[in-house]
């Protein structure tokens, strides 16, 4: 069942803008046929619509598109440069990581070889006493009870924290530059 039709200025405007539903538009058309004063208002709105639609565009400066293209070329170049420097930085860090890994591997190998020599001989027999590698005799208790230890730990933690902060700032700057 169709709802009761009610004429308002808003409805009339919406009808002129073509935004009423099919049912409402039909009801409005019937109403306008029977009400010349509203019909007159409707025609006025339509005339205005025509006028507004024929309004001219604003025209930018003649060299606007060239400026936009130039700005884009510049930005692309900066972006590429940023990506390249990031890639170079990453590569440098990667190579540094490789050095660290190598040193760590050699160190690990030495430790592993020492353990191997300590417990096994080549033919599966225990290593003779005179072949045993002497274990370092280190006083760990003295080290852990040293009064400077908390300061040393604090110093190391500060260094690690600063390194971490530096990484965050660099990453943020890179992302900001990319955007």
């Amino acid at each position: 069942m169709e709802e009761k039709f009610k004429i308002t200025d808003d409805n009339l405007m919406l009808h002129a803008l073509g935004l009423l539903s099919a049912v409402e538009a039909r009801q409005m058309d019937v109403f306008l046929k029977n009400n010349p004063s509203w019909q007159q208002k409707f025609v006025e709105i339509q005339n205005e619509n025509e006028l507004i639609s024929s309004m001219n565009f604003e025209v930018p400066d003649a060299d606007f598109s060239e400026k936009v293209v130039a700005a884009w070329v510049l930005e692309s170049a900066r972006l590429n440069l940023g990506e390249k420097s990031f890639a170079a930085d990453f590569q440098k860090k990667k190579s540094k990581n490789w050095v660290i890994r190598s040193i760590f591997s050699v160190f690990g190998l030495i430790v592993f070889a020492s353990i191997f020599i300590l417990f096994f001989s080549v033919n599966g027999q225990p290593v003779a006493d005179n072949f045993r590698v002497p274990l370092p005799n280190f006083d760990f208790e003295r080290l852990f009870l040293h009064p400077g230890l908390p300061f040393a730990i604090l110093f190391v933690l500060t260094l690690v924290g600063l390194q971490f902060l530096d990484k965050i700032i660099r990453t943020r700057q890179f992302l900001k530059f990319q955007n």
Partner: protein, 191 residues
């Protein structure tokens, strides 16, 4: 420009790194974008800045355009957001479209410039002057609907409004424009 070349084709070419396609896309849409920017910021210098920023932002994210809506709708959405941020940056807050108490500032029609324009009697100048009296989002919604020929659905997409809100805002903006036209430019319009 070859009319057969669609926006989608130009976009593909831009993504392939063709600078000429980029220039063609800017040239094709510059007047729409600039007009929309002008409706917000009301002066040419700022409108140039907003338009350029909008194009650059659009091209930065061009690979994200999936073709789910018209390219123009996607582009106007960017212009809308850039312009709103620009006005916020300048502390020029957008006035609510529903604010009926908003005073309408009218041009000084007795000034020599205004008189000269009135003498010319160009109706489109009168309409433009009337639109300039509207708030930025009023004039933007009118421009999107009439000049950029965006449907109500597309306007919702651009402005992030619901259908009902967009309809109401468009209707109110149009009524305000009608009021300004009838009160200040009726002589020119009836010639």
């Amino acid at each position: 420009m070859n009319p057969i070349i669609t926006d989608e084709l130009l976009i593909r070419q831009v993504l392939d790194g063709r600078q000429t396609a980029f220039a063609a896309l800017v040239k094709r849409h510059e007047r729409y974008v600039f007009t929309l920017a002008m409706r917000f910021v009301k002066n040419r210098e700022d409108a140039h800045e907003v338009s350029q920023d909008s194009f650059l932002k659009a091209f930065r994210y061009l690979s994200d355009f999936r073709g789910e809506c018209k390219f123009t709708t996607w582009l106007y959405k960017i212009v809308f957001s850039v312009a709103v941020n620009f006005l916020r940056g300048k502390n020029q807050l957008l006035l609510s479209l529903d604010d009926d108490q908003k005073p309408i500032s009218l041009p000084n029609l007795s000034s020599p410039d205004a008189s000269r324009e009135l003498e010319i009697g160009e109706k489109s100048t009168a309409v433009r002057q009337a639109i300039e009296q509207l708030s930025p989002d009023d004039s933007a919604i009118i421009t999107l609907f009439y000049l950029c020929e965006q449907s109500l659905d597309e306007i919702c997409e651009i402005t992030n409004l619901t259908m009902t809100n967009a309809k109401t805002k468009l209707c109110r903006a149009r009524q305000r424009l009608s009021k300004i036209l009838s009160e200040n430019f009726s002589e020119i319009l009836t010639h």
